[in-house]
């Protein structure tokens, strides 16, 4: 009896073991399978909203572009074996075609008739009209709406929409592909009480649904299996929010994530040597500038500002801080922007010249000023320390005050901060867009209070000029004035650095630095 009992027990345990291992195998197989269509990405910030008309940071914009479609989008092309967006070429998305009136003020879009929102509602011209109304009424995207010069949006029939402009505007078609101009399921939005609901819910027709989103930990995107366009290769996208840059680097090099953003320049070289990791580093139009508040003494004096531009160790910033992951910035717009010119820019590292200019300005012994440092980016901190050390050599004392990122953004938006470093990416790679926001006297991001009537006039004239060459000449003139008056010191143009696991294919670089997950696949 005892023997039998033992045998039974052994047999049972064998069964159990095989049972277990069989299960384990299936589990392992299924993870391996889903691993092929799942990607985990590491982002530095957790985003602030899902509302297309209020989104303003890389993470929020990523959600919007995953969950929504736009009327038109940017073309992509292959340059030197890498996929890049060609923002000057606009291609169909929700609109299958469009016609422009002879005077360039009336655009008639024909919408595809096979698009359903994720809710199941069909996408019609009423949604386009309603979405443009939501954009016009928003607090953030309304500025772009004005910049696009839109006058009326009318539904001609169920699948035709006519948009009229106040006057011919070359930026109009350039702005339409932006996440801010997403087409929303207005029926669903109305059912849920309006735009506020959009902050934490999506109402799009896009390739992914946002399944969960916790800004402090992670978000999960799932493929929209009923997507009208090309089916995305990825089933699931996990986006983890990891503030600490070195942790993102570590996760990427250990293969825990397949994609990581905001890779610190100092870690690029070692990651390139890490097996299985591919670093995608490309010049971009993301600039970093040292803003001097033109409304606060002594920076209201042009000579003082020019003196500062001669006391910045530009080469050191590029080599020591950015380790080559940046290139010189020589005008207020990025060098890759159409119409760029460095005319009038005399800034170079020359402390004697800085001293002379300071003496000429009436500050032979220098002065003291306050500098506000937004935290979160190590290179800003390092730049500030290096600039501080150089300024000290010409008698200028720069008092640095650290501020958490959210506070910093609030503080500079008041226009009361004496000086700061900030970065800027023009999602529309056009000098009109860029200068209009940053350096015209009415610009919503002109926090350094630069005010020059000639620049304003040139910008206004250029924005309605239909001929591109003439337009770029006007923008060039504006840049020359700005370069001479130096409201900012130009620090550098960033490379956009994305870390990828080998086998992650399809990454396409856009000026906005946002990853379109519908383009990605995993081998």
């Amino acid at each position: 009896m005892r023997v039998t009992a033992k045998a039974v027990a052994v047999a049972a345990s064998v069964l159990l073991v095989t049972g277990c291992s069989a299960n384990a195998n299936t589990n392992a197989n299924s993870t391996a399978n889903s691993g092929a269509t799942t990607i985990t990405a590491a982002y530095s910030e957790g985003g602030t909203t899902l509302n297309p008309t209020e989104a303003n940071d890389v993470t929020s914009d990523t959600f919007v572009l995953a969950a929504y479609d736009q009327l038109v989008t940017y073309a992509t092309e292959e340059v030197d074996g890498q996929q890049v967006a060609n923002t000057s070429e606009i291609v169909p998305m929700i609109a299958s075609s469009w016609e422009v009136s002879a005077d360039d003020t009336e655009y008639t879009f024909t919408l595809r008739d096979d698009i359903e929102f994720q809710s199941g509602n069909p996408l019609t011209s009423a949604d386009v009209v309603g979405s443009f109304q939501l954009i016009a009424d928003s607090s953030s995207a309304s500025f772009l709406y004005g910049m696009a010069g839109i006058s009326t949006v009318t539904a001609v029939d169920e699948h035709t929409v006519t948009i009229t402009l106040n006057q011919a505007n070359h930026l109009f078609l350039q702005i339409l592909p932006m996440y801010s101009f997403s087409i929303m399921d207005t029926t669903l939005v109305e059912e849920n009480g309006g735009a506020e609901w959009l902050a934490t819910n999506t109402a799009g027709s896009g390739p992914f649904t946002v399944d969960s989103w916790d800004p402090s930990t992670e978000a999960v995107l799932s493929r929209n299996d009923a997507y009208w366009g090309e089916e995305p290769a990825l089933e699931t996208v996990n986006i983890k929010f990891i503030t600490e840059a070195s942790n993102r680097v570590q996760l990427l090099s250990k293969g825990e994530v397949q994609l990581a953003l905001e890779i610190p320049a100092k870690d690029v070289a070692s990651l390139e040597d890490t097996e299985g990791v591919v670093i995608d580093s490309r010049p971009s139009n993301k600039i970093l500038y040292f803003a001097m508040n033109n409304a606060i003494a002594p920076f209201d004096n042009e000579l003082v500002r020019q003196a500062i531009t001669h006391a910045i160790p530009y080469d050191k910033l590029l080599t020591d801080v950015m380790q080559g992951q940046a290139s010189p910035m020589t005008s207020s717009v990025a060098s890759s922007t159409p119409g760029f010119t460095a005319d009038g820019n005399t800034a170079d590292y020359d402390l004697d010249k800085a001293k002379d200019l300071l003496a000429e300005a009436g500050y032979p012994d220098g002065f003291t000023f306050d500098f506000t440092l937004g935290s979160g980016f190590q290179d800003w901190n390092d730049d500030a320390v290096l600039i501080q050390a150089e300024l000290a050599k010409v008698g200028v004392t720069m008092n640095i005050t650290n501020m958490a990122r959210a506070q910093f953004l609030e503080a500079i938006a008041t226009g009361q901060v004496q000086s700061y470093i900030s970065r800027w990416t023009s999602f529309v790679n056009d000098p009109g867009y860029h200068l209009g926001l940053l350096l015209t006297s009415d610009g919503t991001s002109n926090y350094a209070n630069y005010n020059n009537a000639d620049v304003d006039a040139l910008w206004t004239e250029a924005s309605t000029e239909p001929d591109q060459e003439t337009r770029n000449e006007l923008y060039g003139e504006a840049q020359t004035i700005i370069n001479e008056e130096s409201p900012w010191a130009y620090l550098y143009e960033y490379n956009i650095v994305v870390g990828l696991q080998e086998g992650t294919e399809g990454y396409t670089s856009y000026p906005d630095g946002i990853v379109r997950y519908s383009q990605l696949s995993v081998n």
Binding site: E244, S246, K266, D267, D320, V385, Q388, A389, I400, N402
Partner: protein, 296 residues
């Protein structure tokens, strides 16, 4: 026996007892090690300006991110600044912060505790409940709140850490006062018609000093740590000031890439200086607290 001693001790700190304390302290090996460590950091940070060929904020004093070598014993940071100079210069700030913060805690906490203990009743309850409220906050969170409200900077860090330490001193003084005010020499003082203020300042506080001194010594280490934590998150010292917490914060991105010295030396400085104050504090308690005095 205890009664006689307390009577001879009444005008606290007679010559013979001071000598006794000193000898006992000298015999406490761990305490002496602690004192030596504190002296090392104190003297080092006082004389670093004279001894070091480099300036604390001097960039490009050597190669960038150079590992420890004979030229730079602690190596250099990402600006080529000499880390040894910066660590000792940071010691200056950290020790000052500790002293001033503990000074603030004592200057406010001791009178509050003394008044609460001596007066008792409603006033005492109110004071001590307020202290309880302060204690209810996690100390670092409270320090962060105070420092954020005052704006980032070294002086606000000192004040923040000082405020956080107040309730500890108030409670110790309160407890001491409660027990001391029952003693005969206090009663005698009252019988002689001394004012409450005189009794409190001349008779109670001097006799309550021993645990306060112990707490102050231990508090130094704690204050240094909290100030470094505030600086780590950007609420304390601002660039280019050398400060241990800031140095660790700036160097933490380099741990994985292999430049360990950026965080190791400031970390070692924090660890050893706190250890020093704790060892000395423990030794002082052993020596000053009669209940623990077994070797006398």
């Amino acid at each position: 026996m205890p009664r006689t001693r307390s009577r001879t001790n009444a005008p606290a700190g007679t010559r013979s007892t001071t000598v006794g304390f000193g000898r006992l302290l000298l015999r406490n090996k761990l305490g002496m090690i602690g004192l030596a460590v504190i002296m090392f950091w104190t003297l080092g940070s006082i004389f670093i300006g004279v001894l070091s060929p480099y300036g604390a904020s001097e960039t490009a004093a050597g190669a960038l991110l150079a590992p420890p070598s004979l030229d730079h014993l602690f190596g250099t940071d990402n600006f080529g600044r000499d880390l040894l100079t910066r660590v000792f210069a940071g010691g200056q700030l950290s020790l000052w912060t500790g002293l001033i913060a503990v000074g603030i805690s004592m200057a406010i906490g001791v009178p509050l505790g003394g008044i609460a203990g001596y007066a008792g009743g409603a006033l005492g309850s109110v004071i001590m409940r307020v202290m309880d409220v302060l204690l209810a906050f996690p100390s670092l969170v409270l320090a962060m709140a105070v420092a954020a409200a005052l704006g980032p900077g070294t002086s606000s860090a000192m004040i923040a850490v000082g405020i956080v330490g107040i309730p500890e001193f108030a409670r110790i003084t309160y407890g001491q006062t409660i027990s001391l005010k029952q003693r005969e020499f206090v009663e005698a003082g009252r019988a002689l018609g001394l004012t409450s203020a005189t009794i409190l300042t001349r008779h109670i506080v001097p006799n309550a000093l021993a645990p306060i001194v112990v707490r102050a010594t231990l508090g130094m280490g704690y204050a240094i740590l909290t100030a470094a934590a505030l600086s780590f998150i950007g609420l304390g010292a601002q660039p280019p000031t050398a400060e241990w917490g800031v140095m660790i914060s700036d160097g933490r991105g380099y741990i994985i890439s292999g430049e360990w010295w950026l965080t190791f030396f400031p970390g070692l400085a924090i660890a050893t200086s706190i250890l020093g104050f704790n060892l000395l504090g423990d030794a002082l308690r052993d020596v000053l607290d009669p209940r623990l005095r077994t070797t006398a």
